[in-house]
């Protein structure tokens, strides 16, 4: 870390030479704010040497303009009135630096997000922009030359979530030579993708493309794989996170188990008795089980809520006898590990919408109403029916209806489009027809097949005789009106293309359930200190230009935890997240805002008011001198101590009292 250089005594201030620039942002600002008037007004204020308005300040010529003016007019303070500083402060700071000026002599005025985009009245908007400009001009004269703070970045990464997003990101980072810890809360990695049969639009088998990546994770020397584990605490900050991981007991010694399943065969439960999570509850497993054939790691797990020995202590423990490697450890305890990493990639995925929330579709009441995930397991050759599509009573369905947008695009449940269900359902339609020879009808509002090869796939379904009925299904009922409907489920739907209400008897209904945020996304959000949208999806820094970075430096997003997306998009985003993390770790350091607090030792009286306020313990008392001092390396720059210091001897770089007071005075002084 570079030694702090921000304590230089305040130089004697000559009258500043301020340059003021107001941006039109094309018409984004200029339509609502009279930019020429703002420039005229700014030019009249004391200290302002020149004021210009320009169409795009952030463009190369715009930045060049500032640089030229700095050189030509010896400007030493710059104010840019344009968009949010969160967007372009770094752009203009860089321009200052290129012209040889300390970048922190810049102040920005947000007249786009805070003015032109939220007000219509041109006069009021211009007046507001004028006030804000004046405040910035008054403030910037108090700015000081500062050096950014360099923070070293550890070269280890934590990947949270072992679905396809986490797997892909972890492998990329590991390939680049970084140590990766992959934490997955289920007993195996693979996520939802492992449950899928084939993938659209190419119909290549999900397991065939996923399993090699899962094995690669297991085998990679740079990856530490912790399954059945959860992150319970994250402390620290970019470059130096301390993450606490809780490893749940699986009652198996992972190092010894080879996944031979002798123990499973030997279990006192002769047959599976408990719903198998991997098969969406369509089959049953024992208390000791391997989650699925390709599970990674190939280690069995014991369900403590089902195992007789763990529940009652009364069991013959036939599994222990069967294991010739002595891998079963009934007294295994949860382990808590603390790891230090430089970056974190969050890839925690999604939950499926619970269709019992829409009782009109009969899920849970009518046995032959399935979800897409259940249908997926039915068509899968390693699924509960070995790939034979069967109703719950064992019959082969002759007619199948797939209902789209169950829990998507519906203001009563979720307003968003889950993006994958149209394609997923069309894929299932082809597979069900292939496996069961059934007639398949898809009920849709729209078919959304945007994607490479997707529309062609829709075409193929149309050509191959999948029926499409456009209309939101009103209900699924077993109420038969005619003899033909007897013994079937009846879909009542307004066929909006034909223009009348239809009753369509079918043997099997598949509900295309949408995606929703993981149930505990909000808890995790708190642990990580990142943001969620109102719906519960993790919030990216910028929807277009920062789709994988979060508001917390060093934490990146990949996959559906950020919003619904299909496998290609998920993999692309995971790659992007890995690249962002890699860029940070490879540079080895990050430059941070020098907005730390500092104490003027001449005025500090050692009252210790500030000490308990600092959540980072950055303030310490020098007992010998009776004064507090701040460890700049620990200070995060919140300013809570500054506001509390009774003697006014704590100040914060970039947010000095005199700067804020100048700003207050500026927004309020009447023209």
């Amino acid at each position: 870390m570079t030694p702090p250089q921000n304590h230089a005594p305040k130089a004697h201030r000559a009258e500043p030479r301020i340059g003021f620039y107001v941006c039109h942002c094309g018409s984004n600002i200029a339509d609502t704010v009279d930019c020429a008037e703002i420039a005229r007004y700014a030019a009249s204020l004391p200290g302002v040497i020149l004021a210009r308005d320009y169409k795009y300040m952030c463009s190369d010529p715009g930045q060049e303009l500032i640089q030229q003016d700095i050189r030509e007019y010896q400007l030493d303070r710059i104010v840019v009135a344009s968009c949010s500083p969160l967007l372009h402060e770094h752009t203009f700071r860089a321009a200052l630096a290129r012209a040889g000026l300390n970048p922190f002599y810049l102040q920005m005025v947000n007249i786009r997000e805070h003015v032109s985009w939220v007000h219509k009245n041109r006069e009021a908007a211009t007046a507001k922009a004028r006030d804000l400009a004046r405040a910035a001009i008054q403030r910037v004269r108090h700015h000081q030359a500062l050096q950014p703070i360099r923070v070293p970045i550890r070269a280890e990464a934590l990947v949270l979530g072992g679905g396809i997003a986490g797997i892909h990101a972890a492998l990329l980072l590991a390939e680049a030579g970084k140590r990766v810890i992959l934490v997955e809360r289920q007993p195996s990695i693979g996520g939802h993708m492992a449950q899928l049969d084939k993938t659209f639009p190419t119909l290549d088998c999900a397991a065939c493309i996923l399993t090699p990546k899962m094995s690669a994770v297991r085998a990679h020397p740079n990856i530490t794989l912790w399954t059945y584990s959860e992150v319970i605490k994250v402390e620290g900050y970019v470059g130096n996170f301390t993450v606490t991981v809780r490893r749940k007991p699986r009652y198996i010694n992972e190092a010894l188990c080879v996944g031979c399943k002798q123990c499973v065969d030997a279990c006192v439960f002769k047959d599976g008795k408990f719903p198998d999570e991997f098969n969406a509850g369509l089959s049953h497993r024992k208390p000791i089980y391997l989650p699925f054939p390709q599970a990674t790691p190939q280690v069995v797990v014991i369900d403590p809520d089902r195992c007789l020995n763990l529940k009652t202590g009364k069991c013959k423990k036939t599994c222990v006898e069967a294991c010739d490697r002595n891998a079963i450890v009934f007294d295994q305890q949860p382990e808590v590990h603390e790891v230090k990493v430089g970056t974190i990639i969050v890839a925690t995925g999604y939950d499926l919408f619970d269709p019992t929330r829409l009782p009109q579709y009969g899920y849970g009441r009518y046995p032959n109403v399935f979800t897409t995930l259940e249908a997926e397991r039915l068509v899968n050759s390693s699924g509960p029916t070995a790939g034979k599509v069967r109703l719950r009573d064992g019959r082969v369905p002759r007619s199948v209806g797939i209902i789209l947008c169950v829990g998507s695009r519906d203001h009563r449940t979720h307003p968003w489009c889950s993006r994958t269900c149209c394609m997923h359902s069309m894929k299932l339609a082809l597979l069900i027809r292939e496996h069961a020879g059934a007639e398949v009808t898809i009920f849709h509002m729209d078919i959304r097949s945007a994607g490479k090869g997707y529309e062609e796939f829709y075409d193929r379904c149309l050509r191959e005789g999948i029926q499409f009925i456009r209309g939101r299904v009103a209900e699924v009922t077993d109420w038969a009106m005619t003899a033909k409907e007897e013994g079937h489920l009846v879909v009542r739907v307004e066929d909006t293309l034909a223009g009348f209400v239809r009753r369509i008897p079918l043997d099997m209904i598949v509900l295309a359930v949408g995606m929703e945020p993981q149930r505990d996304a909000r808890e995790l959000r708190r642990i990580l200190n990142i943001s969620c949208s109102n719906e519960g999806w993790f919030l990216e820094r910028h929807p277009k230009l920062g789709p994988v970075i979060t508001f917390t430096d060093g934490i990146f997003l990949a996959g559906c935890c950020q919003g619904p997306k299909d496998i290609p998009d998920t993999v692309a985003q995971a790659g992007a997240a890995a690249a962002e993390a890699l860029a940070l770790m490879d540079r080895g350091y990050i430059e941070q805002e020098p907005n730390t607090a500092y104490i003027d030792p001449d005025h500090c009286c050692g009252c210790k008011s500030c000490l308990p306020l600092c959540p980072y313990s950055a303030i310490q008392l020098d007992e010998t001198q009776g004064r507090a001092f701040i460890n700049e390396a620990l200070c995060k720059g919140c300013g809570a101590c500054v506001a509390a210091c009774p003697s006014g001897s704590i100040q914060q770089h970039l947010f000095e009292d005199e700067q804020v007071f100048a700003e207050i005075d500026g927004v309020l002084s009447y023209a």
């Binding site: 969160l86 009021a124 949208s533 002084s669």
Partner: protein, 159 residues
């Protein structure tokens, strides 16, 4: 322009991580709200020194709005709790000064709550409009004039 029709003047202190970002989001979402608020960005609502608020009122603000992250969401762990406690104390101070405490409002607005920001700003403007101008600078001036004239104090004022 004191002769023009009076419009509430509100100074806002928004934390960088939640409320300032929410205001940016309101902009990106083109949510329209009253143009009376002037935002000053700070890293955390915990940086809001009560002096800032008093200074703003003294300099002519009719109201002050402070925006921070929800409890448990502070980027700096607990800065917003400190703000909350400070505002409770400031409240008593304002009462003692004869300033309606409703002129100072503390709100938790998360980065995703652009719509809440719009509501809060509009409500705040309505509230201040109902309370009327505070006019502290003018009142200071008239007090100063009274003092400089050294007129004998009215009987009974001191006791």
């Amino acid at each position: 322009m004191p002769d023009a029709v009076w419009e509430p003047r509100i100074v806002a202190f928004f934390c960088n991580w939640c409320t300032y970002t929410a205001a940016d989001l309101a902009g990106v979402s083109r949510l329209q709200y009253a143009p009376n608020v002037r935002v000053i960005r700070l890293m955390c609502s915990g940086r809001v020194d009560p002096q800032f608020i008093l200074e703003a009122l003294a300099k002519g603000a009719d109201g002050v709005l402070i925006g921070g992250c929800h409890f448990g969401d502070c980027h700096y762990v607990e800065g917003n709790y400190k703000t909350f406690r400070r505002m409770r104390m400031l409240n008593r101070l304002l009462l003692a000064l004869g300033i309606e405490p409703e002129r100072v409002r503390l709100e938790w607005i998360a980065a995703s709550e652009g719509d809440k920001l719009r509501h809060v700003v509009n409500e705040m403007v309505d509230r201040i409009r109902a309370l009327g101008p505070l006019n502290l600078p003018e009142r200071f001036q008239s007090w100063n004039r009274e003092l400089s004239h050294q007129t004998p104090p009215c009987e009974g004022v001191l006791g």
